[in-house]
């Protein structure tokens, strides 16, 4: 999967490149809008991550030009401005998604996965990790064959972690996707942490190996083994 990153700030560009490469993508970086525009014209990418605040032609201009030329590459806009009008404008001129800086990296990865997967419905109904199993149809969870009672929210949370198995999910992602919070100001971190403590007690409490891990400062991950 080839991703184009158009970002003028060197540090940010480097972080994006390394982070995306670590997740298994081939990354091409453009440092100016013109270069990005040229590259998108020259070769097909599976996805473009486009910074809005670029020197010269900004992200909005680049985006509307390539859309006018009929290039349908999915575009994820990055911006430091959180104004709703900006968001609406970006989506209006053909952006597929929109992320406000500073964002959590797992969030970016999740959005990119959604964009690349778009149209292909994930039909998975049963998940399994080590001896932990989740059956969506029967809404049941077992660990080492023992049934575990989960509240609906805990079930939803575990399912979400399963879908992002091996990848870190941030508190922002959980707040938005599980708690359906629209506002970034809602004091949810304590709630999420408490909920995670409970879920961990239920699925990891008396079992080995531990599967639900906290990644300090970033979020949570469901996987076997401590280190990635």
């Amino acid at each position: 999967m080839q991703i184009l990153v158009v970002e003028d700030e060197q540090k940010m560009a480097k972080a994006l490149r390394e982070g995306l490469e670590a997740d298994g993508y081939a990354v091409r970086v453009a440092h100016t809008g013109e270069e990005g525009f040229y590259l998108m014209n020259a070769q097909p990418f599976d996805l473009a991550v486009l910074d809005v605040m670029l020197p010269g032609h900004d992200g909005f201009e680049i985006l509307s030009t390539i859309r006018r030329r009929g290039i349908k590459t999915p575009v994820l806009l990055l911006t430091s401005r959180d104004a709703v009008e900006d968001r609406v404008r970006g989506l209006d001129i053909g952006a597929d998604d929109y992320l406000v800086k500073p964002f959590a990296f797992p969030e970016l990865l999740a959005r990119i996965r959604v964009l690349l997967r778009r149209g292909k419905a994930p039909a998975v109904e049963r998940f399994k990790l080590a001896d932990l199993e989740l059956d969506q149809g029967r809404r049941s969870v077992t660990r080492a064959g023992q049934a575990i009672e989960l509240t609906p929210r805990e079930f939803e949370l575990l399912e979400y972690l399963f879908r992002n198995r091996g990848r870190v999910v941030s508190r922002e992602m959980l707040a938005r996707d599980i708690w359906k919070e629209t506002s970034r100001q809602t004091p949810l971190d304590n709630v999420i942490d408490a909920q995670m403590v409970r879920l961990r007690k239920k699925i990891d409490g008396q079992f080995e190996p531990k599967l639900l891990h906290t990644v300090r400062g970033v979020g949570f991950v469901l996987r076997e083994g401590d280190e990635s």
């Binding site: 104004a83 359906k180 629209t182 004091p187 709630v191 409970r198 300090r216 280190e227």
Partner: protein, 489 residues
């Protein structure tokens, strides 16, 4: 080169004087015209009156000669050689209109048109006519019966002297009027300048006031006159501005202080981490700790942005009818797990029909922030209650009551201030920057509501929100989800 000609004078005093002088000019012209008209009318009346007297005299002096010719007894002149007698015009006509007599002054000119019907019958007919040479005349006629024959006597005096006087008067006015107006201009200009000079002074004083010198005020000479009032209003505005500036300054300095705290931690943790050779796990821990501070910074900045947008009025509310109890239940449900952890009970109850007109997103934010505050500061095992009811005068009242440590009365007014925290030392563990309640207050007030706090030490706190009740209680209230779908698609 195409400069537009400016017809309106630039200075207020010029404009004032101009309008005053033109008003005066119009009045003077009107008064003069009225006077002239009246004078002319009176003089002409006098002339007519005089002619009537003359006719009476002439009637007595007319006689027929034995040959049947009409004559005037000229010897009368010996007694009265007055100018008026000489200047009079006289014509006598027969009943069929033929001229019987014309005096010397008239010669053979006709005094006016041929007789009209009823002329001079039963009184005096008085009118203005022109002679063939254009001279304007005041003509009086009367029918007089002499020796059984009805005679039409016409007697006239020239009106020309009257017109001449009128002309003289006009000429005099043409000279006098501009002089009067010129004097009025200077007097008016001086007056306007004197009246306006305090305004210029005020303008100069006001110009000196910069954001750095907002404490300065205009001098008020007489508080009761119009200018004094103006100065007072201006000073009040200045005072409000000064307060706003002061608030802003404090906010900026508080905000930078709050931003500095997590930054300092990131820096120290990073610097200390680099100084030693740690294990991979240790480094992960260091980076994680730094990221935690970054998250704190991020949420702080999000809150600051919300506040700044609220301050600049850039947030648009989308008002609908909001079932308040359902909204409160939903907000409280968010903290269920936290209250369970602390063995607290969080009760939500009240009137299902209480509906509010407002923006559900911001109202929910307000409730969430206040309930979170209650949950945070209530000790383990305590009870928190949220009560919704229809209050008086079209308000809905929501009370959030906790049994926490309470807030000392001297601190209560500051609770809604930005960055205010009752216990400065505890904020790290509770994780707030002291913006939650101030955002809640803003959200409630933006929706036309009020929020207040009642508290006593060791007696807990009661936050009371009142909001405008929805005009028409809808029967189709959906208590399920008062909050619209998330913005992120």
């Amino acid at each position: 080169m195409n400069r537009k000609v400016r017809l309106r004078p630039r200075h207020l005093r010029t404009r004032l004087t101009l309008s005053y002088v033109s008003g005066l000019a119009i009045l003077l012209v009107l008064a003069w015209a009225g006077t002239c008209g009246l004078l002319f009318w009176q003089l002409r009346n006098q002339l007519g009156h005089f002619s009537i007297q003359e006719i009476e005299t002439v009637e007595g002096l007319l006689y027929f000669t034995p040959q049947g010719q009409l004559r005037l007894k000229e010897d009368y002149h010996n007694h009265s050689e007055s100018k008026d007698v000489i200047e009079r015009y006289l014509e006598v006509r027969d009943a069929d209109g033929s001229v019987l007599y014309r005096n010397e002054r008239l010669g053979d000119r006709s005094l006016g048109n041929p007789p009209f019907r009823g002329e001079g019958v039963g009184g005096y007919s008085e009118r203005s006519e022109r002679l063939s040479d254009g001279t304007r005349m005041r003509v009086v006629s009367r029918v007089h019966v002499l020796d059984g024959r009805p005679l039409l006597i016409r007697l006239a005096h020239s009106e020309e002297p009257l017109y001449e006087r009128l002309r003289d008067l006009s000429l005099a006015s043409l000279v006098i009027l501009p002089i009067v107006l010129l004097i009025a201009w200077f007097a008016g200009y001086g007056l306007a300048r004197r009246a306006l000079s305090p305004i210029e002074k005020m303008a100069r004083e006001a110009q000196e006031i910069t954001p750095e010198k907002l404490h300065a005020r205009l001098r008020v000479d007489d508080a009761d006159d119009e200018l004094g009032q103006l100065a007072r209003v201006f000073n009040e505005t200045l005072a409000r501005l000064e307060r706003a500036f002061e608030q802003l300054r404090r906010f900026t300095s508080d905000a930078s202080h709050e931003l500095r705290t997590p930054l300092a931690m990131i820096r120290s943790v990073g610097e200390v981490g680099l100084q030693k050779d740690g294990s991979r796990a240790e480094y992960r821990d260091i980076v994680g700790s730094m990221l935690e501070e970054v998250n704190r910074l991020t949420s702080l900045i999000d809150n600051l942005l919300t506040i700044s947008r609220a301050d600049s009025g850039h947030i648009q509310l989308h008002r609908t009818t909001v079932p308040m109890l359902a909204l409160a239940r939903e907000a409280a449900a968010l903290f269920e797990i936290l209250t369970e952890e602390k063995s607290q009970t969080l009760d939500v109850g009240g009137d299902e029909t209480a509906q509010v007109e407002g923006d559900p997103i911001f109202l929910r934010q307000a409730l969430v922030n206040i309930i979170h505050n209650a949950v945070k500061y209530s000790p383990i095992g305590e009870r928190i209650s949220v009560a919704v009811r229809n209050g008086d005068s079209a308000r809905v009242v929501i009370e959030i009551k906790d049994n926490g440590p309470g807030i000392p009365s001297e601190d209560q007014p500051k609770v809604f201030d930005r960055f205010y925290r009752v216990d400065k030392a505890r904020w790290r563990e509770s994780g707030g920057a002291g913006l939650g309640l101030s955002i809640a207050k803003w959200a409630v007030e933006a929706n036309g509501g009020t929020v207040s706090l009642q508290s006593e030490v060791n007696e807990g706190c009661t936050f009371r929100i009142t909001l405008p009740r929805a005009a028409m209680p809808s029967k189709h209230a959906k208590p399920a989800s008062p909050v619209p779908a998330p913005e992120h698609a």
